[in-house]
Amino acid sequence: MSDNTMQHNLDLARQSILAPADLGETDLERVFGRLMGPKVDAADLYFQVQRHEAWVLEDGIIKEGSRSLDQGVGVRAVSGEQTGFAYSDEIMLPALLEASSAARAIARSGGGGRLQAWKAGEGLALYQPLNPLDSLSADEKVALLRELDAEARRQDPRVEQVVVSLAGVHDVVLVATGEGQLSADVRPLVRLNVTVLVEQNGCRESGSAGGGGRTGYECFLDSDCLKGYAREAVRQALLNLEAVEAPAGTFPVVLGPGWPGVLLHEAVGHGLEGDFNRKATSAFAGRLGERVASPLCTVVDNGTLPGRRGSLNIDDEGTPTQCTTLIERGVLTGYMQDSLNARLMGMRPTGNGRRESYAHLPMPRMTNTYMLAGPHAPEEIIASVDRGLYAVNFGGGQVDITSGKFVFSASEAYLIENGRITRPVKGATLIGNGPDVLTRVSMVGDDLQLDSGIGTCGKEGQSVPVGVGQPTLKVDALTVGGTQVG
């Protein structure tokens, strides 16, 4: 099945990217002739045509709509640890040849290389090669926004403002490598979000909810889906109206299932990306085979989940994605690799070579990163805490991969007192040390959940869509950045 998908995607990519520029495979061979050389270890061309649209509803009216078209080709030559890179927004032969000269300047000696025959790469079939922008008519898109707005306002009279946004991306990529491999992918991605502002006695709070994935917009047509988002956004906003000051200090913290998996993304995920470990700039460098977590913890990065926001049929270097076990029962077992870092470390690429666009260099990035389920019932976990925090929803996070210190910001949290959830507390930042936070995980729930498809990860100025997930879990000691001392 996946062979057919790759063939179909290759045909589509040739047709929509190469054909309009009148580029054939012999032209690509000429480009590689210029790009390759005795000192060039690897080279690739990354062709991309990306269509994007966004719709925004605010104040009950369809306020904005936009469409964009971005296309171009990135040209890379790698010699040892050195990378030369140039790109062009013109997909045409002269621009390609020029970019190739610029990129290969990294390898000092001249002399053209010779490309072997082209062969199609392998890939998965995790989503339909469709254009989500065409999956609904404009009327239907507008109706969807209006319905979600109405649904949110129906939830509670204290809802003052509702902002709904709908966005879709149709991304067609073609990767040609110096080894003669041609791979293509057609990547749909949609996202729907609702943010509400509630007001009561002059106090205001906001809440938001949403989701999406690699599908068409029709996944949002289910009215339970819209109701779910509306209810969740309003519930969060109202809850925060009641919230008291968060405590300050170090406490046991129970994290809810799903999106709180942003803990894993920050605390261990980035630190296990191949580039940081090759350069030994990560707090996890050189620690393969060592215990870095409690035996309850098994953490994977899995790019092969059908339809998920972080999933890919192939990564941006043409390598099929896979499920990589990063931590197995507490022991560090693997890094996430792109081709450059895998080669330099004598490891295999893991399908984690990703880039924001043709105008950016690929590097090791996460796909869907999550912890597998454990033995405990969530109620049992909460009941085990005398005084602590139960955090179920989060904003973003950040990590310093060298010191290992990471933060993530709770947007919905409660006090646990004597084994029971009591009052909601205001949002607070949690801070910890990546290499030891998972050693303090003493209970892992049986309720693994993935997030709803909302994550975007930033690294070195490049953004890519990702997924996270986890079961309910308990960290024995984590610092909670509230204002309430004592």
Binding site: I62, S66, Q82, T83, T402, G481, Q484
Partner: protein, 453 residues
């Protein structure tokens, strides 16, 4: 490496304004032809070079070259937008058509439209924003090598590096609308930066330093940048945690910049008309202590935040935003201004040089003034609620005792409420950092909660 110097892919010249005005005017004409009652468009073209050296060897050599055209059309009070990186006539027409199509589905919005014609910039001043830096890749690589080497020489505990980077960018931006306004200007930004790592036993730290300016001759020397990166990393080594407590906090200029960023977020039109701001209805009220003044100075020559006109063609002008602690103005585009029943402040696209008036004390004097407390050099995460002003972020820096840095600290949070934090500012230093759009010295804030061990 002679080949790269000769490579034709390396763009050397910005296109002339007239060259970009052409597709822009065509797009506006096409919009009108398709029935739009008004339209506005912008065209950008930029190029650059970036080299990174790590452990003495070239890590990456990147050539950048970007273009884009964006158009917004209005059919009465309905609008639609589209953009494309392709300037071919066919693509241009398709982009305009896409924008017009969208406008059939958006709603009548009484506040939508171009900024008033009377506000358009005329005779835009030359703010000297464009300087070439004709640096060959080889020279840039040598500069990056010098920078990194200088950093690693600072101390033998500096054992690793993320590298030193030298980059140069030039671009031209042209904006036009159906009032007949069309103008543009070139701008540049050049930088040298360095990140090095140090180790004590099992624990590692990193820190960085950078210099950035529109004029390459205003850059700090590469060696000085490296040395500062090295010094900064060394002084983080051996960082400890603190126990939970309430103390004064001194934000160094880079950290303090974010405080005024939160202030700007709260007084910008979009947050105000959505009522999503902790400074709602704060105009002409005391927000900061009565000695604190803040200005917007869009015409500072060669400054990174300067601009002759905003994203709607509205002439920018200097103004006082905070006078003796009292908020005197908001940050508005024509849209948010109409939503609020006010006049645009020429801030479509953001602020242009927010200048916090410096005080008299330098950094050492501020430490004396604080006597005991926390210096914050690094902030982590996004724990700021713009609606309520609740503030909770990860931090690292130094513990200060007897007016001197005692030891480095990490893995703590600082928390408070932005409105109270603004009221409790006790001093602003004269150690102003001008490497950005927000210019401030260090800021001393009383009574913040630190959470730690």
């Amino acid at each position: 490496m002679t080949e790269s110097a000769l490579s034709p892919a390396v763009q050397r010249q910005l296109p002339a304004k007239a060259e970009l005005a052409e597709p822009l005017s065509e797009a506006l004409e096409e919009a009108t032809r398709q029935g739009a009652t008004a339209a506005e468009a912008s065209v950008n073209s930029s190029f650059g070079l970036s080299v990174k050296v790590r452990q003495g060897e070239v890590d990456t050599l990147e050539h950048m070259r970007d273009r884009g055209l964006a158009i917004t059309v209005y059919f009465g009070q309905r609008k639609g937008s589209a953009s494309s990186a392709d300037f071919s006539r066919a693509s241009l027409m398709e982009t305009v058509r896409a924008a017009c199509d969208i406008a059939r589905y958006t709603s009548e919005d009484p506040c939508a439209g171009l900024a008033d014609a009377a506000l358009m910039s005329a005779d835009a001043p030359d703010l000297r924003l464009h300087y070439r830096w004709d640096i060959e890749p080889e020279t840039a690589i040598d500069l990056a090598r010098e920078c990194e080497a200088a950093a690693l020489e600072v101390d033998r505990r500096l054992t690793n590096s993320e590298g030193a980077e030298v980059s140069t960018h030039q671009g031209i931006h042209v904006y036009g609308n159906t009032h007949g306004f069309l103008d543009g200007y070139p701008a540049s930004q050049h930088s040298i930066s360095c990140v090095v790592l140090g180790r004590i036993g099992e624990s590692m730290q990193r820190d960085y330093w950078y210099t950035t300016a529109r004029d390459p001759s205003a850059l700090q020397a590469a060696i000085a940048v490296g040395q500062e990166a090295g010094r900064r990393t060394v002084r983080r080594l051996g960082a400890r945690r603190l126990s939970t407590r309430t103390v004064p906090v001194l934000f160094t200029p880079t950290a303090a910049r974010s405080l005024f960023g939160h202030f700007l977020g709260a007084i910008q039109g979009g947050s105000l008309y959505r009522k999503a701001s902790f400074l709602l209805d704060s105009l002409d009220t005391q927000v900061f202590p009565n000695w604190l003044n803040i200005e917007e100075q869009p015409h500072l020559p060669s400054a990174l935040g300067s601009a002759p006109f905003d994203g709607e063609g509205v002439a920018t002008r200097s103004r006082i935003l905070v006078e003796q602690g009292v908020l005197r103005g908001y940050v508005l585009s024509s849209y948010s201004a109409r939503k609020l029943g006010m006049q645009t402040t020429g801030n479509a696209g953001g602020i242009h040089n927010l200048v916090v008036h410096p005080g008299t004390m330098d950094y050492a004097q501020l430490l004396q003034e604080m006597h005991q407390g926390l210096v914050v050099t690094h902030l982590m995460g996004q724990g700021v609620n713009p609606v309520t002003g609740d503030y909770s972020r990860g931090a690292a820096g130094f513990w200060v005792d007897n007016g001197e840095e005692a030891y480095p600290v990490e893995e703590i949070t600082i928390a408070g409420h932005l409105k109270e934090m603004f009221e409790r500012i006790r001093a602003v230093g004269r150690d102003v950092d001008i490497r950005g759009n927000i210019r401030t010295g260090s800021v001393l804030v009383e009574g913040m909660t630190i959470a730690g061990e």
